[in-house]
């Protein structure tokens, strides 16, 4: 009697059920009713979400302005590369941007580069995270090849990425008054706090025969060189935008913003484009219709399928 009960209890234990492969399990059977219900449900969920997302994306006002060709003076357009490489020619240039819709602060300023391979293997690898954090205390900069040292002194920050720092600058003027551009806090907080050293100062940077991109102020520690930090977060795709700063005033419809820019950076040799982007933001981020379109598409196809199945089910009911 007792042993019977014990045996019964033993049978109940989870391990016994496991050994007999009879652990409780849910086994949904896809009956037509269930399938239709699931598709309906998906449609009902996805279409509103998609619409909301699309709306958020549409609320974002974005102005894109390509300036790399316009900023080369007419006579030099035949040979843009020699123009950009000639230091004696002043590179300043003015552009007009017309605001077609009211833009609420903060307005983000991005520069966009196209056909620029920040993800190239040689390029991505050419940096030394340890040196960025510890400066000259860290000696092994072999990963920074081919820009690791100059005149037998290490370069801080070393590597191709830092060496090719983007150096176009922008000034914004509305109705004669300069718009204030906030250039602080454009890099990730974690980068500023943990990746780039507070006591590391640029040294021996852009001192060689080959000058790449922008120069750095040797008085400012790396953790405050936010342009560098933004630039060094390499992009995954050959067409990318990087944050330049924020305008903290609203822009009204039909405002004309004059951009005074220094067109220093060479994208002409490889046919890359340079664009300036002003954009507001919504709760969902910048202007991006894809997510909304995808959701609406999935929702619509689910609904259609649900309807087709429903008709089929009604017609061929068993």
């Amino acid at each position: 009697m007792d042993t019977d009960r014990e045996r019964h209890r033993a049978r109940e234990t989870a391990f016994y059920l496991f050994t007999q492969q009879s652990l409780p399990a849910c086994k949904p059977v896809l009956t037509p009713g269930w399938v239709i219900a699931i598709f309906l449900f998906m449609g009902v969920i996805f279409i509103p979400v998609g619409l909301i997302t699309l709306r958020a994306s549409h609320c974002v006002v974005e102005i894109v302005d390509r300036y790399d060709i316009d900023c080369v003076p007419e006579p030099s357009r035949m040979d843009k590369v020699s123009y950009i490489q000639d230091d004696s020619i002043p590179k300043n240039c003015s552009h007009f941007m017309k605001v077609h819709k009211y833009m609420k602060a903060p307005i983000y300023i991005y520069y966009q580069l196209d056909n620029y391979y920040q993800n190239h293997r040689r390029y991505v690898k050419s940096r030394s995270d340890k040196q960025l954090l510890d400066g000259q205390k860290y000696h092994d900069t072999s990963s920074c090849q081919p820009v690791e040292s100059n005149n037998n002194r290490p370069i801080v920050p070393c590597g191709l990425i830092a060496w090719s720092l983007f150096n176009d600058t922008f000034e914004f003027i509305r109705e004669g008054a300069e718009l204030k551009v906030n250039r602080k806090n454009i890099a990730w907080k974690s980068d500023r706090g943990h990746k780039f050293g507070k006591n590391v100062y640029p040294s021996n940077f852009q001192n060689g025969t080959l000058i790449g991109g922008g120069k750095l102020n040797p008085e400012i520690p790396l953790s405050d060189q936010e342009d560098l930090i933004v630039w060094m977060r390499t992009s995954a795709l050959p067409s990318f935008r990087k944050l330049y700063g924020r305008i903290e005033e609203d822009l009204d419809v039909d405002d004309v913003v004059v951009v005074n820019l220094m067109n220093n950076y060479n994208t002409y040799s490889f046919g890359g484009k340079k664009k300036l982007v002003l954009s507001t933001s919504s709760w969902l981020g910048g202007k991006n219709d894809f997510l909304g379109h995808a959701c609406v598409f999935v929702g619509c196809s689910s609904l259609t399928l649900a309807i087709i199945f429903m008709l089929l089910h009604v017609k061929y009911r068993r």
Partner: protein, 935 residues
């Protein structure tokens, strides 16, 4: 080749033969690492991974941290190596225990206690009751005055009944003290693994002069790992020691069986490897072209104008590394893991425990469970597999009178009981043959009850039946048998025993009646081995009818016969027999030839019929499995009629109107050929009809068919869903399995006895029934079950689930590797074909191990259908069997797979692209964490 063993010669043989140190170890401490690595690297997959891992050490080309490949690789190797090491260590421990056991051995004429490993060939070893035998010995003395001793050979062949062993006649009567000083030579063959044969000779030296060379057989030996029972002491000469014993020689690691799924995975791996090479070459060329055209313009990349000589190779090698994840490194580990779990599930299954004996099912081979789900042919033994192998004497026919026909039990037939009571001479003679024409040993317990130790179930049944009919085989004292019949004691002296062999199909004893000194030959055997040899003039018609009638009922028949011998005839023959018995070459054949000279002109006494009941659930099991599309072949040593009857009674074949039996017979090549063609023709015609057509073939015709008409027979084998092969030998069983395997069918062989071992080892899957014929088959098999009916569950539940799970798991492994690999490939097109990895090392490793490999292991608990559904609709198994057809052209499947996966990765990549290009800020930490926007 022979070996000469000098008894008690302490010096001469030490160098010639190895000592008794047993070693089952595969490795030593020193060679473990190199040998194990060598074994592991003989697999293509491992070589490949090693190559990849080595390439990754070259920092110029490695896309990710080498640790991401070395880590898993070392882990996998460490797991298999430590498993091997653990097994080997356990083997070492058990060897050590056996080697250091103390045994009594004679040294310089004095018995000493030494370690078992120090025994040398020629030493005399003393054993006490219940001692384990340390090496192969030739008996020279026992405590029994008749020179008998009993051994239990369970460890050797799994048979639990006691075997009698006897000392050679030359050593008979040598006293205890002299045994220490005995000298002589044993001439024996070189070590082999046949545990049923030992053809040797013994000659003793003075003072133990015996002119004759004394023949030795397996009966005079006790083999390693047996136990001495019911005998106070025994001593023997060590002839084979250490790893050269019969047990040691038969040990060995059988070839690992490869499942259809494994072969498929290997093929797929090969195909993916080829594909990978193509991708690498295309991308490598594209990368070099891009580098030379575009990258030189990208000033920020600073490509040097002049590169090293191997520059052209750098980009292809980078892509090789990038694509190396296409072949999943985890698949071997995950599959090994889940396969051992499938095996455990079989061991644990409470519904496959044989409650009569308490034996659970066991999966010895843990690697082939999914093959169970793909079985197409089952080759089954009859006796002990379909039937219970519990023999009961049911009927008999004595001198033309049938007994037991009315009641179905001859032991209760009053006619027979009256005849016994009236001592009818025919009946008495018949019962005498039943009682003493055998090798049974009667054992008297303290209460006086007699029990019998028999090696054959039939003999056991006959002796017990005779005892119930008052012909009690009471005692065996050396060569003197004692029989009690109706109160009187009759004594016989056994002169010779002509043992049963499957070729002769009969056994005989020559006995001398101690009362009147008459010498009689008593025989029993299969009808075709006895009836044709009846003396001229005897009417055997009734016996033939009796045999047929009994076979119709599915009973096993034996014919009993006797012949009186003249004294001189016996003496003359005895010399020939002795000579034949002491030959070393072809002894079995020579003995058979000599026996033939005595076994003729029989007076046939009658026919016995023994029933062997079907096991529970056999018809249902066969029906269910047949519905699942599995074809059954019955391969039996029994005679045609019995086999057909058993086949009918267990649904194996259908009775006349629905089924049709086609016979292939004939004694000559022509006859067999004609009959084979006729059957083939009928088979082709009826293959479209819904009729159960089966063919029956006997061993003789089969031999001819396999030898000369292999093609026609193969075609027949493919056409026929059912076949009965009777009178087949163990090697023919194996040949038939081989034939079906060569037609690319998945075969399962199931059997219970030693004669099924070869077939079980030959088949893709061998299943042994741990039954009454010992554990020999169960040991050789991949799976052992207690009863035939568990086969249904083994195939339909365990086999099917295992197949589905493994299929899912392996497909998934390839799928996830291809997905991530294609993302990398597509990314390379937007990263300047430079071989940048989109994922960093940690993420890549985490993807392979934590995100995809470990969670999916839960699928071993996955059940697509409940067990009940599968059992009710066994047709579902078709999908599993068909598995090999749908994936057989691996390339087609592969490219289908590829197409799906490619479009998927494309989609993922495209989605990434669409989201991130226009988004506010496209930043990523070494390309992994892509964030939408920074604040």
């Amino acid at each position: 080749m022979k070996r000469y063993v000098y008894i008690n010669d302490n010096e001469s043989s030490h160098e010639l033969y190895c000592d008794n140190r047993i070693s089952n170890r595969k490795y030593t401490v020193l060679n473990f690492l190199p040998k194990n690595l060598w074994e592991q690297f003989s697999r293509f997959m491992n070589q490949y991974f090693l190559l990849i891992a080595c390439l990754q050490l070259w920092s110029l080309i490695t896309p990710v941290n080498p640790a991401s490949t070395w880590g898993p690789l070392i882990f996998i190797f460490a797991v298999s190596a430590s498993k091997e090491a653990w097994d080997d260590y356990n083997r070492y421990l058990s060897d050590k225990k056996a080697n250091e056991k103390l045994v009594w051995v004679v040294r310089q004429g004095i018995r000493k206690h030494i370690q078992a490993q120090d025994i040398h060939v020629g030493n005399i070893v003393w054993l006490r009751e219940n001692d384990e035998v340390p090496c192969d010995l030739v008996l020279i003395g026992t405590s029994d005055p008749q020179g008998l001793c009993y051994v239990e050979t369970a460890a050797l062949d799994g048979e639990t009944d006691l075997k009698t062993r006897v000392i050679p006649s030359a050593c008979m009567g040598i006293d205890f003290e002299l045994l220490h000083k005995i000298k002589g030579v044993i001439e024996c063959p070189n070590p082999d693994k046949d545990i049923t044969r030992f053809d040797a000779n013994l000659r003793l030296f003075p003072p133990f002069i015996d002119n004759d060379v004394c023949p030795l057989t397996i009966k005079n030996t006790i083999l390693q790992s047996c136990y001495l029972r019911n005998t106070e002491w025994a001593c023997g000469v060590a002839v084979y020691t250490g790893n050269e014993t019969k047990l040691g020689m038969s040990r060995g690691i059988p070839e690992p069986k490869l499942t259809a799924m494994d072969a498929m995975i290997d093929k797929l791996t090969g195909a993916i490897f080829v594909f990978q090479i193509v991708v690498v070459m295309v991308l490598g060329i594209a990368g070099n072209v891009w580098k030379d055209t575009e990258a030189r313009k990208q000033w920020y990349v600073q490509y040097p104008i002049e590169g090293p000589w191997y520059e052209l190779l750098v980009i292809p090698l980078r892509f090789e590394l990038l694509c190396s994840i296409m072949i999943p490194i985890s698949i071997k580990v995950s599959l090994d893991l889940v396969k051992s779990l499938y095996a455990k599930f079989i061991d644990w299954d409470a519904e496959m425990i044989d409650y009569e004996t308490g034996i659970p099912s066991h999966a010895t081979n843990t690697a082939i469970s999914e093959d169970l789900g793909q079985v197409e042919y089952i080759m089954t033994d009859k006796t002990g597999t379909l039937t219970e192998n519990r023999m009961i004497f049911r009927r008999c026919c004595i001198s033309g009178v049938f007994y037991g026909n009315e009641s179905g039990d001859a032991l209760k037939d009053t006619k027979l009981l009256n005849a016994v009571a009236g001592s009818s001479p025919d009946v008495v003679q018949f019962l005498t043959v039943m009682a003493i024409c055998n090798t049974v040993v009667p054992i008297k317990s303290k209460t006086g009850a007699i029990s019998y130790k028999a090696q054959s179930q039939d003999e056991d049944a006959l002796v017990n039946a005779a005892a119930q009919l008052h012909m009690v085989y009471a005692n065996k004292n050396a060569n003197i048998l004692e029989i009690r019949f109706n109160g009187s004691v009759i004594k016989y002296e056994v002169l010779e025993i002509l043992e049963f062999t499957s070729d002769r199909k009969r056994m005989s004893v020559v006995v001398k009646d101690c009362q009147n000194g008459k010498i009689v030959l008593l025989s029993k055997g299969a009808d075709e081995a006895i009836l044709p040899f009846a003396y001229v003039g005897q009417q055997t018609r009734t016996f033939i009818e009796a045999v047929e009638q009994y076979a119709q009922l599915g009973l096993r028949t034996l014919c009993l016969a006797c012949r009186e011998l003249r004294e001189d005839e016996y003496q003359e023959w005895s010399l020939l027999f002795k000579e034949a018995s002491s030959t070393l070459v072809d002894r079995e054949w020579r003995i058979a030839e000599v026996c033939q000279r005595l076994e003729h002109d029989f007076e046939v006494l009658g026919v016995t019929a023994i029933e062997d009941r079907l096991q529970d659930g056999v018809p249902e099991t066969i029906e269910t499995l047949r519905k699942a599309g599995i074809n059954f072949w019955m391969l039996t040593g029994d005679k045609q009629n019995t086999a057909i009857q058993i086949a009918l009674s267990c649904n194996f074949i259908s009775p006349e109107p629905k089924g049709q039996l086609l016979l292939i017979d004939g004694k000559t090549e022509d006859e067999v050929c004609r009959s084979l063609e006729r059957v083939l023709l009928t088979m082709r015609i009826t293959s479209s009809e819904p009729k159960d057509v089966a063919f029956v073939v006997d061993g003789w015709a089969l031999e001819i068919a396999l030898k000369h008409y292999r093609k026609a027979f193969t075609e027949l084998a493919i056409l026929s869903r059912t076949a009965i092969c009777c009178r087949v030998t163990p090697s023919q069983k194996a040949q038939l399995v081989e034939l079906l395997k060569s037609c690319d069918y998945r075969t399962l062989a199931i059997g219970d006895g030693g004669n099924d071992v070869r077939m079980i080892q030959q088949a893709d899957i061998g299943v042994g029934i741990s039954g009454r014929e010992g554990l020999q088959a169960a040991r050789a098999a991949d799976y052992s079950i207690g009863k035939f009916r568990f086969l249904k569950r083994l195939i339909l539940v365990h086999g099917r689930y295992s197949y589905n799970r493994t299929a899912f798991l392996s497909q998934y492994s390839f799928y996830k590797s291809l997905v991530i690999c294609f993302i990398q490939i597509f990314f390379s097109f937007i990263s300047g074909v430079s071989g940048t990895s989109l994922f960093n090392s940690v993420s890549l490793m985490a993807y392979n191990v934590f995100y995809t490999s470990i969670p999916v292991l839960v699928s071993v608990l996955d059940k697509d259908l409940s067990e009940g559904t599968v059992m009710q609709h066994p047709q579902i198994l078709f999908y599993c069997q068909a598995g090999r057809f749908t994936v057989s052209p691996p390339f087609l499947a592969f490219f289908l797979l590829l197409y799906n996966r490619a479009s998927e990765s494309e989609y993922i990549c495209w989605m990434v692209w669409s989201i991130f290009v226009p988004c506010n800020c496209c930043v990523c930490d070494h390309h992994t964490c892509l964030c939408l926007r920074e604040k």
